[in-house]
């Protein structure tokens, strides 16, 4: 896995990213999905993941699960459309995997993608990703400065 460090966040080069902080690893038509390092650092300890059922259909940009960190319930947004073919059962025993290894053992689900070719264009990589992460950090810093 090629490591890409953007302002202290690990965002591997070969993955595709949705602006709601999910990532997609493409292998043929099968897409593995998880949450980014940016998300897990911001969220803190993940305490529960409410996953969809295998066999469910999802659309790109649709909320397909919920993730609780402390007392906040956040959204898992599907980066691509297709059918959920597998969910990570190891998360039942240890949701901390998302914090410890967000791009490895902390993967969340796998999708058999239905429209990959056109949908990948809607996801971020390379310079667009760098600009997104930098903008997120800048926005957060501006709000902090305003509050002082």
């Amino acid at each position: 896995m090629l490591m890409a460090d953007i302002k202290g966040y690990n965002m591997p080069d070969e993955l595709y990213y949705h602006k709601e902080n999910s990532w997609a690893r493409v292998e043929g038509t099968k897409v593995t999905v998880g949450m980014t390092d940016l998300f897990q650092k911001e969220a803190g300890d993940i305490v529960f993941v409410d996953l969809p059922d295998e066999g469910d259909d999802v659309s790109q940009g649709e909320v397909c699960g919920k993730i609780q960190s402390r007392k906040w319930i956040g959204k898992l947004v599907s980066p691509v459309s297709g059918e959920i073919v597998e969910t990570n059962e190891d998360l039942d025993d240890d949701t901390g995997l998302i914090n410890q290894d967000p791009y490895g053992k902390g993967w969340i689900l796998k999708i058999e993608a239905s429209d990959l070719e056109s949908e990948l264009a809607n996801l971020m990589q390379g310079q667009a990703l760098v600009a997104f992460v930098e903008a997120e950090i800048k926005r957060s810093e501006e709000e902090k400065a305003k509050a002082k």
Binding site: F48, S69, R70, K71, G96, E136
Partner: protein
């Protein structure tokens, strides 16, 4: 004054859980679907116990005692643990866009922004409260309010809190299935050392309306807005009815099994400082709640800090150690080392039983 926010305020009437929670869910719905400005909902529930979205209600509550005492129970759509509500607890729901100007960004930022509104409202009442990261408002280490939230449709956010004006500790110990119940007669002390109320801190019986006024004024000051007293429009009432019908009166919602396994355990250890006891509630692989007690010497504030540092964090040994190291002060618990505390927590974890 800048934008006008909407205010749904119910006074002098206790709201059933289904109605109150459904109206709260309507707030972010209206922000997204009706392009509504932010909406603040201030009210109080009927005597009730409300669990977090992903809590096991049967493990959290003694439902037989709730039924016998006529205490309603329900499940909210935001995170966190059980809250006991009633005529002397101000319930607050807020629907707002996460990008709203002045609202700090990110999960921690949003909690901090809204906590600061509540803290300044407490100042008006003569209560000097502070924010205990990441989710609580406290005074001298004792909890006055807990905050919880959920990202809803689009960029909308639902924020929940409850402010204790007065509180019935006996009711809480009777209906909650927390590890502290195992402490039996120690129960009262344990809760009263960890929680406080506006009445206790202000030294008088503060009317609910005064607390609601203070909260309103504080929102106006912090966000430079004004409030327009309002009620749900026709479309919002339809959404509200939907939430009542499909969530808050539905067994599948209230008794949802979409939650981690809940387990409890007790760890005891003899230390040079005395007996150390840890009561632990685990939710999946996370610590939902813990109580550190025994006959050692320390301050309530420091023990509460340790407990809160570990709540809603991973129960793995490495994580427990890392989190404790960040706040550990050598000698703050006389005769008890950090290693001993970690051992007691791990003993409680080893001895856990399913509820």
């Amino acid at each position: 004054m800048g934008e006008q926010w909407r205010l749904f305020r119910h006074e002098g009437v206790s709201v059933p859980t289904a109605e109150g929670l459904a109206l709260d869910d309507t707030l972010p719905w209206a922000v997204v679907n009706q392009s509504s400005p932010p909406i603040l909902h201030l009210y109080n529930f009927v005597p009730s116990a409300i669990v977090g979205k992903y809590q096991d209600i049967e493990a959290a509550l003694r439902l037989d005692r709730c039924r016998a005492r006529g205490i309603e129970y329900n499940r909210r759509s935001t995170g966190g643990g059980t809250v006991i509500m009633g005529p002397t607890v101000v319930a607050l729901g807020l629907g707002i866009n996460v990008d709203y100007p002045g609202l700090k960004k990110g999960i921690g930022g949003v909690f901090e922004s809204l906590a600061s509104v509540l803290i300044s409202s407490m100042e008006t009442l003569g209560v000097n409260a502070g924010f205990r990261p990441k989710n609580d408002i406290e005074v001298g280490g004792r909890k006055l309010a807990g905050l919880s939230a959920a990202s809803e449709e689009g960029r909308a956010l639902l924020f929940h809190t409850s402010l204790l004006v007065d509180f019935d500790v006996d009711l809480m110990t009777d209906i909650m299935n927390a590890p502290v119940i195992k402490l039996q007669d120690k129960g009262y002390n344990c809760f009263s050392q960890r929680m406080t109320t506006i009445n206790e801190l202000a030294g008088r019986a503060v009317p609910m309306s005064e607390v609601m006024d203070a909260i309103q004024a504080s929102f106006e000051n912090e966000f430079k807005i004004s409030f327009r007293p309002d009620r749900p429009n026709e479309k919002e009432l339809e959404a509200l009815e939907g939430f009542i019908k499909n969530r808050y009166t539905k067994t599948e919602w209230i008794f949802s099994n979409r939650h981690p396994r809940t387990r409890m355990g007790v760890g005891q250890l003899k230390t040079p400082g005395g007996l150390l006891e840890v009561y632990l509630s685990l939710s999946g692989s996370s610590i939902e709640n813990l109580m550190i007690t025994g006959d050692f010497f320390s301050t309530t504030e420091y023990i509460n800090l340790l407990e809160n540092t570990l709540k809603w964090t991973s129960a793995h040994k490495e994580s427990i150690i890392a989190n404790l190291e960040a706040v550990w002060k050598e000698g703050a618990i006389h005769g008890v080392s950090m290693d001993a505390l970690v051992d007691a927590i791990l003993k409680a974890k080893e001895g856990q039983v399913r509820l």
